[in-house]
Symmetry: C2
Subunit: 497 residues, 2 copies
Amino acid sequence: MLESLENSPLYRIATPRSIALFGASNNILSMGTPILISLKAMGFDGAVYPVHPEEEHVQGLKAYRSVLDLPEVPDLAILILPARIVPHILDECGKKGIKHAIVVSGGFKELGGEGVTLEKELREIAAAHNIRFLGPNCIGVTNPYHKLNTTLLQYLGNPGFIGMASQSGSFVTQMFHYLANFGLGFSTAFSVGNEANLDIVDCMEYLAVCPHTRVIALYIEGIKRGRAFVETAKAIVTRKPIVALYVGGSDTGRRAGLSHTGALAGPDPLYDAMFRQAGIIRARSITELFDFCWVLGALPLPRGKKVVIQTHSGGPGTEAADFCGRAGLELPSLSAETINKISPFMPKTSSVHNPVDFTFTKNLLDYFSSIPSLLLEEKNADMLLIYLLMPMETVKSALEHLGIPEDQADEKTGELLDEQSQSIAKALKTHNKPLVGYTYRSTQEDFIRSLMERGVPVFPSTERAVRALEALVMYSEIRGRITDNTEHGFSTGRGAS
Amino acid sequence: MLESLENSPLYRIATPRSIALFGASNNILSMGTPILISLKAMGFDGAVYPVHPEEEHVQGLKAYRSVLDLPEVPDLAILILPARIVPHILDECGKKGIKHAIVVSGGFKELGGEGVTLEKELREIAAAHNIRFLGPNCIGVTNPYHKLNTTLLQYLGNPGFIGMASQSGSFVTQMFHYLANFGLGFSTAFSVGNEANLDIVDCMEYLAVCPHTRVIALYIEGIKRGRAFVETAKAIVTRKPIVALYVGGSDTGRRAGLSHTGALAGPDPLYDAMFRQAGIIRARSITELFDFCWVLGALPLPRGKKVVIQTHSGGPGTEAADFCGRAGLELPSLSAETINKISPFMPKTSSVHNPVDFTFTKNLLDYFSSIPSLLLEEKNADMLLIYLLMPMETVKSALEHLGIPEDQADEKTGELLDEQSQSIAKALKTHNKPLVGYTYRSTQEDFIRSLMERGVPVFPSTERAVRALEALVMYSEIRGRITDNTEHGFSTGRGAS
C-alpha cells in the first residue's frame, strides 16, 4: 500500500502542473484536437504546450515545433499521433527530461504483427529514460478535482467519489453523462489501454490513497499481474470497496477483448476465485458496476441482511420480495413495537407483513416522513427499501380538485415534492442504516432527481435496487461486519464473487 | 381459442358502451373519484352513470340514488366501495340486468378471515345473476383504442401493441408512464386481482384475438387453472408471443403474493416446466417483461442465433460480446464479401472481427446509414446489434469548430441527428432482420427518442439489449423457425423457460 499519492508513479499523470500535447491541431477531425478542447473546457489551469510540426498556434495556444523547444520540462506528455512515430516522439520527450506520458494512439499490440514490435520498442524507450506511461491505446485520465480531462469527451456533472481503472476508455468517457444523470461523478478515472508500462494494479494503488475516492470501479478484460492484483486488492478492501466487471469469461468476450486491448483473459471460475480471494465484488454489467459503486460510496454499511420493504403497491412489493429471496436477503417480520407505532398510518386494506404494503396512505406526507423513520427504527431489520411513486401530475390534479387554482398548483406541487424528498433524505441521515428507493418513473423527474442529489440512491428497476442492497451486504461481509450468520452461513444467490 | 372478441366474457368489460359507477363522489380523497377522472380524461364516449346515495351530481355528471333508477341497463358496473357492501350492490346490479362488472374494492380473500367469506358470497351472487366480473382487489381495464381507462391513474402516450393480463394493478397503471418513455403503449391491459370469477386465462383468450395486440405480457403471482393456462398458451403462441414474469418462485415472493392477492404460488421448477410446455418466454423482472414485449412486437423474427455487433468503442463491444456468449448467441465471422464492402469505411485502427469495431468513423454519417445496411446484408448473420453514441453536444461542438455559427449549430445538429435516425430506421425496414440499439446515453435524448418512435428498439444497457435478442431467438425457436440447430441443439444460457 502506498503511503501517499505523491509516491505513486501516476501522481503527475493525474495531477500534472504542465502538459506537452502532441497531435492537436486546428483541424477538428484530427483526434488530438477534441482532446485539447476537453482539456480547456475542464478549465485546466496549468501550462499546455501543443507541439506541432507546422502550426504557429493551435486552438489559440502558442505551438512548438519540437518538444525540445519547450520553455520548461512539463510534468506530462500526451501523445495522439500515428503509431509509427510514437516511439521517436517518446524518445524526444525522454531527452527533454519528461518522466510521465499518456500514449493515446492505437495501432500497437491490439493489432498484432508490427504493432507488437512497436509496443516493445515503446517500452524499451520508456525504460531507457525512466518514463512511466499509461497506454498505448487509451484515453488517459479524468481528474475533475484537478480540472484535468485528457479524453475526447467533455466532462459533465460534478466531481464525485467513484475512482475508476478501466481497460476501456469508453467506459470512462461515455460514463460522464451516464453518471451525471444519477448525480454521480468520478473522483479520478484512468483508462489503461494496453498497459505496456503502468497497469490496472498501479491505478488501484493510486485510488486507494486518493482522498476523494470512496469506492473503486474496475473494468477488466484480462489481468496480467494476477498475484499483485490480488494482494493489492486485499489490502485496499479493508478500507475501500472494490467492484469489478470482468467480461473475458465467455468465449466471445475473451476473443473481443483480445482484439480490443490484446488482453489475455481466463475463464470465469478463475476470475471468480481471484475476486473472492481479493475481496472484490463482481458486477455482471456496466450498469451494475456503477449501481454497486453508488450505494457503496453513498450509504452506511448494513449490519446484516434483513430488509424491510415499504410499498403502497402490491406488485412492486411482491417483485422486490421475490428478488430479495433470490439474492439471499431476508424479510423479517416487524416487531410488535413497530407494528404498534405504524398502525395509526395503516388503512384497513393494508398489510403489516413484510413487504409493508400501505395500499394507499391516508396522508401522502406520512409515506415519506413518519413511516420511513419508524421502519428504519425496526430493530429486526438492517436496511430499508422503499417503492417510490409520486406522479407529479396526480399530485397536481389532486391539488386542483381541492380547489387550488391551476397556476398555483404547479408551484405547490413542486414545494410538496421537495418537502417529501427532504424528509426521506433526513430519515437516511438520522438513522445509520442503508435506505434505497426504486421506481418505474423516469429517474430524471424532479422528485427523483432531488432525492438523488440529497444522497438517496433511487434505481429505475426493482432488480437493480435489490442487487445494490446485496452488494452492500457482500461488502459488509468482506469487512467482517456481519457476524449473525444463519445456519447456511452467508451466501448470496447469484453473481457474488 | 375464441373465434372472435365478441365471444369473450371480457368483451363488454373491455369495450363497454355504458357504465354504472359506484364509489365516485365529489371528494377527491375517495378512491372512486380519481377513477371517474381517469375515465373522463381518456375521453370515454359512452354514457357514465354515477350511483351515489346522497349527491345530485358527481364530477359534473347526474348521479342516481340506486342502480335500479338508471334509465338503461349499462354494459358494465364498476364498484369501488367498502368490501362489506359490495355483495349487496352486486346483487342490485344483477337485479337491474347488468351482466358485467369490475370489482375494484379490496378487503376480500387477500385479507383472510371474513374477507374469504365475503368473496365466496360475491361469487355466489354473480353466479345467480350470470354476472361475469373482474376482481375483486383489482383496478380493472385500460383499452386506449376504446378510450376506456377504469384505473386510478391517467393513461399516457399512444395506444400500443402490448396486451397485458396482470395479477398486479400497479403493473398496469404504473407502466403507462414507463412505456410511454419508450414510445410504447398497451393495446388492452387487464388487472385481474383475486380472480374470483374471470381469471388470467380468460384475459389471455381475449388478447389472443384482440386485433391490436401483437404480444401478450403476463404478471403472475400464482396460476389457478394450470391445465387451461398451458393449453390456452400453447394455442396462442403459434400466432402471438407470450412473455411472463412469475414472482412466486422464491419463498419471500410466494409469501408476499399470498398477502397481495391471495395467490397460491408454486416453486420455480414447476412454473419453468409449465412455461416451457406452454411455449411462454419467462422474463426475470418487470423491466425484462416489457423489453421482451418491445422487440417481439416491433421486430421481425431472426432465422437463427447469429449476431453481428457494430460498435465504435471497444469496451461496449466487448461487453456485448460477453453477454452474447453467456446468452447462447453466436458471433459469426464476417464473410469475405461483407469485409470487402465495408473495408472502405474502416479506419486503420479498426477491427473487422465481430464485434466490428470502427474505433471511429471517417464520416459520422456512414455509421448510421451505409454500414448498418451492409452488415444487415451479411449472409452469415441473423441479427444486428448497434452501439449508439451520438452525443448532441459533441456534434454541435464539432460543427462550431467547423465554423458554423452557434445559433445555427443547434438547428443543424438537430437536422443531422434526425437524418441519422431516419437512416437506421430505413435499414431496419429494408432488410427483414432484427436490429436493436444500445446506449449509455439517456434514452430520452432526441436522437434516441426519434429512433424509438421510428420503431427501432434502443436499450439503456448492454445486457438488456442482448437479453432482448435472446427473447427473439427463443420465440423463433418456439415457432419452429430455427432449424439450423448446432451440435448442442438450441439452448440459451440463463432464464430461458
